[in-house]
């Protein structure tokens, strides 16, 4: 991916406040996700190992910024640690789905013929179901747990990437430079991974940035439905579902994890927009011409 010179990239990012916000949110999300186990004020509460019935359902205060839940656990600690689980889910789901999708799309697109026929019909079978429904089916079959949630979501998502890569590869494999690489005697693998794949990555990068947000959202959805991660894991969706029953008495239990999800998803969407601007040469050059 040729981002041109770094200075102009920075300039372009700085010129758009939304890009700055998006990058800031995602960067914070990643940093917090990594360090959260070490900075949470109440580590035991955060992991959900304890309960303290004296502190049940306390509203937000200085001691408990987001209040406490029905077991008397500090909600701020739990939401903060939840970042880590959302990060793992986002990277895991998109990573696995990308790996399967890119491989399928690349092989089907480049080889064509009956190989493409088999691979793409397989993809179509998955695409025939609404992705969340498919994920629910997988999650229900696999049972609860973080790894199972990731597998369920990744399995329902790779077909989208496979399609995207397939279409891209099909338009790129007939470009003259691919023929040139072939007639000079480069191997098929080299042509696929070095010449075709990098040229088809732009929409995939944008799509996967968007999907990081969706993965968090859908994982929360699965947890909310009770087929996601198992309690007492402080996963955001699970936190919302636990607070849901008490929404009249303790609004904060569901609200704060909800806000966390909204901010993160918006952050990833803004990041996707930023990528789109940076990776589109035409958009980029007009922005440079405008003197930004």
């Amino acid at each position: 991916m040729n981002l041109g010179d770094i200075a102009s990239t920075f300039k372009l990012i700085k010129s758009n406040p939304l890009s700055v916000i998006g990058i800031a949110i995602v960067a914070t999300f990643i940093v917090v996700g990594i360090i959260s186990p070490y900075i949470v004020p109440y580590p035991d509460d955060a992991w959900g190992y304890t309960y303290n019935l004296d502190l049940r359902l306390l509203p937000p205060s200085i001691n408990h910024l987001f209040g406490t839940d029905e077991m008397g656990r500090d909600l701020f600690s739990r939401v903060l640690l939840g970042t880590r689980f959302s990060l793992i889910i986002a990277i895991g789901v998109v990573g696995i789905a990308l790996a399967i999708g890119i491989l399928m799309g690349l092989v089907a697109g480049y080889m064509g013929g009956s190989i493409a026929m088999v691979l793409m019909r397989l993809t179509d079978m998955f695409l025939a179901f609404p992705p969340l429904l498919l994920a629910i089916a997988f999650a229900a079959t696999l049972g609860r747990g973080l790894v199972n949630v990731i597998i369920a979501l990744a399995l329902s998502w790779w077909p989208w990437y496979a399609r995207l890569v397939y279409i891209q590869v099909n338009s790129i494999k007939n470009l003259p430079f691919v023929d040139a690489a072939r007639v000079i005697g480069l191997s098929t693998t080299k042509i696929m991974f070095r010449h075709i794949l990098p040229n088809s990555l732009t929409p995939i990068i944008i799509q996967s940035a968007l999907d990081m947000g969706s993965a968090i959202l859908e994982a929360a959805g699965l947890s909310f439905l009770g087929i996601g991660v198992s309690p007492p894991t402080p996963e955001w969706g699970l936190l919302i579902s636990q607070g849901w029953a008490l929404i009249n008495r303790a609004w904060w239990i569901s609200l704060f994890p909800g806000i966390a999800i909204v901010i993160t998803v918006v952050g990833f969407n803004l990041l996707a927009d930023t990528f789109q601007e940076l990776l589109d040469p035409r958009l980029r050059s007009t922005m440079i011409m405008r003197g930004v």
Binding site: F177, A180, V183, T188
Partner: protein, 326 residues
């Protein structure tokens, strides 16, 4: 002349299009000797580029070699598997340079990255330093100024002429024996064109390359070739040493073609052209494909395709007229 390195025997190639089957090459036999350069000359659609692509087995998927053999050093390369072609022939034995140098380069890689890829694949050099030095050597060989800078340049930073030089460097970097040049100068302006032709001539001598030069420009052909093959509508019309073709053309089409070259000394005259156009290649042509445009067409021309025969030493013509004369 000496040993034949490439021998094309009765080659037939069809393109399968939604409009019908295009018979692009209709029984062409040609050969290329070691160290020789052969020009294939013809109008657009005469099948000359198709032959070039067939030799390196890079025809588009809708093309099919219906009949014929292409022997490289006595081995029929049409019978080789795709993998054997990639491993043993392409780049290593036979290389090709295309018309549009700009489109030939992957925009995401520097010239050096592409060049070193080819060197790594074919020459088995392991040491990075050695690969780099070899790459620079190749860029110097094609007379690119400041090869170190060009090695690290992206294709969009270079001009068409520079890219064509780089493409030639890549094509010959694995020491192929045969270089196919498919209209390598068509997209370049005339001054650059002459430089590239000189470069190809120099490289041919230095590496004792055998060359197939595909062009529609007889002037370019005269500049660079030992032998000329004139093609029309998928058939070979006339083939021979350059002096024979230019001084003593026998086929009416070759004569017309030579008359059509604009000359500065005759600027008061109108530009000449051959009336009519190429026949529809989707139909099966019974007689000589040039007959409708030929001034000397006889009855037999419409009915029977003339066989190709030698009129003098290594000068072959496919025309009823030349047969009748003898």
């Amino acid at each position: 002349m000496a040993d034949i390195i490439l021998d094309i025997n009765d080659l037939h190639i069809n393109y399968y299009t939604p409009e019908g089957i295009v018979r692009a090459v209709r029984g062409v036999s040609l050969n290329l000797c070691k160290g020789e350069s052969l020009c294939i000359v013809g109008e657009s659609g005469s099948g000359k580029s198709t032959i070039g692509l067939a030799i390196i087995r890079a025809l588009p998927p809708n093309a099919l070699i219906v009949k014929g053999e292409i022997y490289y050093n006595g081995m029929d390369i049409l019978k080789l598997s795709e993998e054997e072609m990639t491993r043993n022939i392409r780049g290593k034995e036979i290389s090709i340079v295309f018309q549009d140098p700009v489109a030939m380069f992957n925009p995401l890689f520097t010239i050096g990255e592409i060049l070193s890829d080819v060197i790594l694949t074919h020459l088995g050099l392991k040491d990075k330093r050695k690969v780099y030095e070899y790459g620079i050597k190749m860029l110097k060989l094609v007379e690119l100024p400041d090869p170190e800078r060009i090695y690290n340049s992206y294709p969009h930073e270079l001009s068409g002429g520079m890219l064509q030089r780089a493409a030639i460097a890549i094509a010959i970097s694995a020491n192929p024996k045969v270089l196919i040049a498919d209209e390598p100068t068509t997209m370049l302006d005339v001054t650059i064109q002459a430089q590239i032709l000189d470069l190809l001539k120099k490289l041919k001598k230095e590496f004792s390359l055998s060359m197939i030069f595909i062009t529609h420009n007889l002037g370019v052909a005269a500049e660079i070739c030992d032998r000329i093959a004139v093609m029309y509508a998928g058939s070979l019309f006339e083939e021979g040493y350059i002096e024979d073709i230019l001084m003593n053309p026998i086929h009416p089409y070759t004569k017309k073609l030579l008359e059509c070259i604009p000359r500065a000394s005759k600027r008061s005259l109108k530009l000449k052209y051959i009336p009519g156009s190429l026949p529809d290649l989707k139909t099966s042509i019974l007689g000589c494909p040039f007959a409708p445009r030929c001034d000397f067409a006889m009855d037999i021309c419409e009915k029977q395709l003339p066989s190709i025969s030698e009129v003098s030493y290594k000068h072959r013509v496919s025309c009823h007229l030349s047969l009748a004369k003898r």
